[in-house]
């Protein structure tokens, strides 16, 4: 257990509304990641962070932004949610031996 929590765990929202998902870690890991998981696509990287205020894009970053103002928190924002962003979102941290440890996930439904 790498001390990773995600909130909310479930969310239903409407198209066009902003949504922020939070990932919180308790062990001061430098690297944090946001993935989405969809049937037929597996896990895809959205954004990642390599330190406070240091972030970079992944393979499916369009429509998403991130922020990391504190080591322990990595926020994922959907500025204007669309139905294509309905997915399960996982946060991960990179620990020792570069192993990534994943949070429990957030199930997001955009109606």
């Amino acid at each position: 257990d790498a001390g990773i929590t995600q909130s909310p765990r479930h969310k239903v929202t409407e198209t066009g509304t902003p949504v922020t998902l939070r990932c919180h870690q308790t062990e001061n890991h430098r690297y944090m990641y946001w993935y989405r998981q969809d049937p037929g696509h597996g896990l895809r990287l959205i954004h990642y962070s390599y330190g406070v205020k240091d972030t970079d894009k992944g393979e499916v970053s369009d429509g998403y932004s991130v922020s990391r103002s504190k080591t322990e928190d990595f926020l994922l924002t959907l500025e204007s949610a669309t139905s294509s962003q309905t997915s399960v979102y996982f946060c991960a941290i990179r620990g020792s031996t570069d192993t990534q440890y994943f949070g429990p996930g957030t199930r997001l439904t955009v109606l």
């Binding site: 597996g42 970079d56 991960a92 429990p104």
Partner: protein
């Protein structure tokens, strides 16, 4: 870019039977991670293999890395219903900080 192909895609075994899952890489393997995911949950880290010929075991699960074959295998001995889930292999791809995941193997264990 590196790709990981897992076989079989899905597997149904009787409780108590042994089974093997393979992960084959399109490029040389320098290290590989195995994860397990139960439906609706996050990925659980199982094992990491760092070099060719390495073999690790945890409880009834053994993983091996064959760098010549660019392949890793995950062997479960005397399977139990608790072993059911999706097994994923992963490697870090190229110069990015991204974990590339295999296509996944869905395991069902019948009591």
């Amino acid at each position: 870019s590196q790709e990981l192909e897992q076989s079989p895609q899905s597997l149904i075994v009787q409780e108590g039977k042994n089974l093997t899952i393979n992960c084959t890489s399109s490029k040389t393997l320098y290290g590989l991670y195995w994860y397990k995911q139960k439906y609706g949950e996050g990925l659980i880290f199982l094992m990491m293999l760092q070099k060719g010929g390495e073999e690790k075991s945890h409880e009834k699960i053994t993983a091996k890395l064959d760098e010549k074959k660019q392949q890793s295998s995950l062997h479960i001995t005397a399977s139990q219903p608790s072993h059911a889930g999706i097994y994923l292999c992963g490697v870090y791809g190229g110069a990015t900080n991204k974990l590339i995941f295999g296509t996944g193997t869905l395991l069902a264990v019948q009591p």
